[in-house]
């Protein structure tokens, strides 16, 4: 039983090792540009809610980067494996349980997301921005990564073309990138938009990470919301995977 789950992780590990530099540079590129452009360029002398803008920005970018990498690592690759090179069929004809398959893919995607998050932490340290990294901070990052890896799994099985996969990202991932408290506080938004923003998972990831990064007491609501998203998306993934194999 364990070996089959390990097999799913092992496949991802082999590919990760083989494409290490590609994966690393891709994970660095956008966040680094955001940090340079918005953090040190545009927001050099700015403060938000009494915090230097770069310190405000970095937890948001960690949340964003963890989301993007976890989601893409599962959604894009799995969609290609299912529709294009058909390697996903290897799992469907193997005696592996749906639970092991979904867990393996989601956890490996989340680990990639965590890796991307730690890269941002490393870069910010290099540039002299020291945010506080605690166990709750890492746990929240992990919850965020697991939730979006689950979303990626679900999307990869529901969406039936690569073009539609891009559209899914445009309508679901892109709005969260800019609206969920990554670059500015959601409090600045009009009331009705604010309600929607607080309903989205990335808002709770960036808000929770920011609170923890500046050393404030952590907010259980952020953890709970992300946990609920994770449970729902994981169950949807299981159901969809069952549909595909049934």
């Amino acid at each position: 039983m364990k070996m089959r789950f390990k097999a799913v992780l092992w496949e991802e590990w082999i590919v990760f090792k083989r494409k290490f530099w590609k994966i690393t540079t891709t994970a660095m590129m956008s966040p680094l540009l955001y940090m340079i452009a918005f953090g040190w360029g545009m927001g050099k002398d700015m403060t938000v809610e009494g915090t230097p803008y770069i310190v405000f920005l970095i937890p948001g970018i960690i949340a964003l980067s963890t989301m993007n990498t976890s989601y893409s690592a599962v959604a894009v690759l799995l969609n290609i494996h299912r529709l294009y090179d058909k390697t996903f069929e290897q799992y469907l004809i193997a005696p592996i349980s749906i639970y092991q398959l979904v867990s393996g893919k989601v956890i490996s995607g989340a680990l990639r997301g965590m890796y991307a998050g730690f890269i941002i932490i490393g870069i910010s340290r290099l540039f002299g921005v020291n945010i506080r990294i605690s166990i709750p901070f890492i746990l929240l990052m992990l919850l965020n990564a697991l939730a979006f890896a689950s979303l990626g799994f679900y999307a990869a099985l529901v969406v039936n073309s690569h073009a539609d996969m891009n559209r899914f990202s445009t309508y679901v991932i892109m709005p969260m990138t800019f609206l969920c408290g990554t670059f500015f506080s959601p409090e600045m938004m009009p009331q009705f938009i604010k309600k929607i923003i607080y309903f989205l998972p990335l808002t709770h990831a960036s808000q929770g990470l920011r609170i923890l990064a500046i050393g404030e007491r952590f907010n259980w609501i952020n953890f709970m919301v992300l946990f609920i998203y994770l449970v729902i998306l994981f169950l949807l993934s299981l159901r969809q995977c069952y549909k595909v194999t049934a």
């Binding site: 097999a7 092992w10 083989r18 090179d85 058909k86 799992y91 469907l92 005696p95």
Partner: protein, 288 residues
């Protein structure tokens, strides 16, 4: 090996896509230890039938039994008993040859030491040992198919399913695959494959199922099916059209041909059987 017992039983199976019937009330059985071919032109329903037999697709109605077990009841234990080679090259492009086999071994819960032995033996058996450290994306079509074949038998299944195993391969690679399949058959495997190559079906199959437009046209031993229409074929042009006449004895065909010009006498084959039964060639869907 209990040769003669049903290993696979397909009973009144139907499958439609967007209200179009892909498989229409199909029933047949496959004996344990035999090599069984599903033969038909593109669109005959071979791949749909194949995918239903390998639990990749669910039938709309009817039942499929593998070794007496209903396929949709006991999937996991059934999956341990079969290996699948699909039509497309479903190999992880960023993985090396040995890694692809290693992954398969892990998915089938084979312990590390046994895995290593099996990988070594299978790579030797298929002449892929020298290429074990190559990424699969750099293998030729024939090598990819060989790799898929040894991967499918690595967990020692009782049934091997192959969907158009030699499609797109050059004649040399095709022959290599046939040799591998014959060697595997000697080990007692039940081999089930789809093909639209007449020569492949005639060379490899103990029994074949002719399919057309989702339906069973005929099932039997290739030689018997050919005998039924007549072992000799006379091809002749009549009013610009190629016409076929079948004869049981060579002498009869010679007598018939003697009266005509532009004739060709040859041994009948499964293509002739198919043409007789459906007015369609196996190689393409154009009616003749």
């Amino acid at each position: 090996m209990n040769k003669g017992l049903d290993m696979i039983e397909v009973v009144n199976v139907n499958k439609s896509f967007n209200k179009k019937k892909a498989v229409d009330n199909l029933s047949f059985n496959i004996n344990e230890g035999s090599t069984f071919g599903l033969l038909g032109p593109n669109g005959a329903g071979k791949t749909t039938t194949f995918r239903m037999m390998t639990a990749l697709l669910k039938q709309d109605s009817g039942n499929i039994f593998i070794d007496g077990k209903k396929i949709d009841r006991d999937k996991d234990s059934i999956k341990k008993n079969f290996g699948v080679v699909s039509q497309h090259f479903s190999l992880q492009s960023e993985m090396k040859v040995w890694e692809i086999l290693e992954l398969h071994g892990m998915l089938h819960n084979i312990n590390k030491k046994t895995r290593e032995n099996k990988i070594y033996n299978l790579l030797k058996f298929s002449d892929l040992y020298a290429d074990r450290d190559k990424l699969s994306k750099y293998l030729s079509g024939g090598m990819k198919r060989k790799l898929m074949l040894i991967r499918a038998v690595m967990h020692e299944p009782r049934i091997l399913f192959l969907d158009e195993p030699t499609v797109g391969l050059d004649p040399v690679s095709r022959r290599d695959i046939w040799i591998l399949l014959k060697d595997l058959k000697k080990k007692g495997l039940t081999v089930v494959f789809t093909t639209h190559y007449i020569e492949e079906a005639e060379r490899l199959c103990d029994e074949i199922l002719l399919m057309h437009k989702g339906r069973k046209i005929e099932k039997g031993i290739p030689k018997d099916l050919v005998k039924r229409i007549g072992s000799y074929t006379v091809e002749t042009y009549e009013q610009g059209n190629l016409e076929y006449y079948f004869f049981k004895e060579h002498k009869e065909s010679l007598e018939f041909a003697g009266k005509r010009q532009e004739v060709n006498i040859r041994k009948s084959n499964l293509e002739d059987v198919f043409i007789t039964l459906t007015d369609t060639r196996v190689g393409d869907e154009n009616e003749i």
